[in-house]
Symmetry: C2
Subunit: 344 residues, 2 copies
């Protein structure tokens, strides 16, 4: 068990290192007024903390830096909550000042502001479209052999796909098909769309529309392509300004991995509420071993919609980021709910 003094020293060490990015020495610590001990005392405690694995040295005679275990302990036990400053609050409010009507725009702007406030990179995972239900379905022919299929969801999201029309399909055929599909598909989750399309509507449509199976080849294929969650970035370049990434090697691999959306989504823990912190190698991505990722999620009404993540160096300002993420996820949820459920 750690003594109170050791707890204090660990906390102050982490705090100091987060601020300066320099190894923390005993003399330096003893100068702070919240640490009323001599350097020698601090050295002893630091040696103990090192033995326990909370601190490490960069070389034999350097100051200490927190280990991953140290950060983990700090985050779990030493992180005192903090209120957002009114300055921050003001910035956050500014997102919602102009009554933007696009969810995507709101999300994009949130990403930007978050990265500005934190000086780290933010990633927002857009709503999982699969969880939305079909509200309306329609087909608009463009020429005599191509058309665009449009699905509007109850959340106001619009999916559209181009597809080829088989030769000789008549306009009444299409109209009939749209009517049937609207009846059959309304209320169906986009996740289930393909299944329903294949199993339940096929026989019905076959009965009414000639050349139906031919149509399905291109139409079904178009609709079956996955409804992916969009990824929004804020301040991709922000990370490069922190000294831990002045090593080109690291900077490169980080920028590279961020260009691969499929890799990035592994950073998000699937669908849990609250704020989660992954430190260094707790992230599964090898390229992220020097990074910490803090995630939260936002909701619309009661339903979980998407996730927010902040990526920074392991030496990141956990307290500030947690505070901001907490405020932001709440505000974003409220705003999106307002837009979609519409209260004036």
């Amino acid at each position: 068990m750690l003594t109170n003094r050791q707890l204090l020293i660990l906390q102050v060490t982490v705090d100091d290192f987060i601020q300066t990015a320099q190894p923390v020495g005993s003399r330096q610590l003893s100068k702070k007024e919240e640490v009323p001990f001599s350097p020698a005392t601090i050295r002893n405690d630091m040696a103990d903390l090192e033995d326990l694995g909370y601190l490490e040295k960069t070389h034999t005679s350097s100051g200490r830096i927190p280990s991953e275990k140290g950060y983990r302990f700090y985050v779990d036990h030493l992180l005192t909550p903090q209120l957002a400053t009114s300055d921050d609050m003001q910035q956050i409010q500014s997102i919602f000042q102009e009554r933007i009507t696009e969810t995507e725009q709101v999300i994009q702007k949130t990403a930007m502001i978050l990265s500005e406030l934190t000086t780290y990179t933010s990633i927002l995972l857009g709503p999982d479209v699969g969880k939305h239900r079909v509200k309306r379905f329609s087909i608009v022919p463009l020429s005599n052999d191509s058309a665009v299929a449009i699905i509007i969801t109850d959340s106001g999201h619009v999916e559209n796909r181009l597809f080829q029309l088989p030769e000789g399909l008549t306009a009444p055929d299409i109209e009939k098909m749209v009517n049937i599909l609207n009846e059959q598909l309304t209320g169906v989750y986009l996740h289930d769309l393909q299944r329903v399309l294949e199993k339940e509507t096929t026989t019905l449509l076959n009965r009414h529309i000639g050349r139906y199976s031919e149509l399905m080849t291109s139409f079904g294929a178009a609709l079956s392509s996955p409804h992916e969650e969009k990824v929004f970035y804020g301040g991709k370049s922000k990370l490069l300004h922190h000294p831990e990434f002045s090593d080109m090697q690291k900077a490169r691999s980080l920028i590279t991995i961020m260009d691969q959306a499929n890799q990035i989504s592994t950073l998000f823990s699937p669908n849990q509420s609250g704020i989660h912190i992954r430190i260094g190698s707790e992230n599964t991505l090898l390229e992220m071993e020097d990074c910490s990722v803090i995630t939260a999620s936002y909701t619309i009404g009661e339903e979980q919609m998407g996730s927010i993540a902040i990526i920074g160096p392991t030496r990141m300002d956990y307290r500030r980021v947690v505070t901001l993420l907490d405020v932001m996820s709440g505000d974003l949820s409220r705003e999106l709910t307002r837009i979609l459920r519409g209260s004036r």
Copy 2:
């Protein structure tokens, strides 16, 4: 006027520097078989070329590197055309193998492949939506006070906007409105949409729909928000692998500028066909002074649709990039035309 030998030496110098990124010395050049001269002779010519401003030295006793003027001359007079290798052709074909039906997907994949083939960053400017015409207009109510407006263009592009419904607007009202707007707006360029909406349809709608002006406040505002050209990136991180950007300072400002889509669009010369090359400070962006940008454009049918750009260091492989861009812009035009005009 440059002698033939000077032309040769300039060409070989640029070629060599493009490949190695190292200053080129006279001894080194004389070893190549295409240069049957002694180092001393080469030195004399190089000195002349330096006087004329085509070459420069990094320090008094270093080899020469091309100046911007040197690159310009090289690009204008010494760039021998080249056929794309079958290997490259194969890769390019692979984009169009799977019959993708989304223009955006094709463009995105093109961006990716281009950056893979060139090892530079590619930027594709999406179609200028303003140049498309309205094909169909519709409104889908989501709740009793919000709805989504949808515009389908003749190119199969779909624009959608959420907006608030004024209280007490009836379903028949909406239907009437959609009918009128469809009649009035079909065929109108998206560029002109707001103007038409304000001037020509207002009186007509006012006559038929109560509370119309109220509706316009939120509906018009939603539709008037600009239809921006989308920007697609390929291989943002690719640039960082080239030695000229191992300087953190430069790498940072480059990545930063690429995050600002509005800055990026200034790189494109408006709407000219053919391939254009901007070298170093010929680019208006200060951050790009060490970069060259090569642009081309793609068309659908006869109409110019969007632009392609490759961004690399000034020391970029101009010949290869020009060749690839030439092939790619042609193929992309053909493919997009196929998708939209539909030939089987």
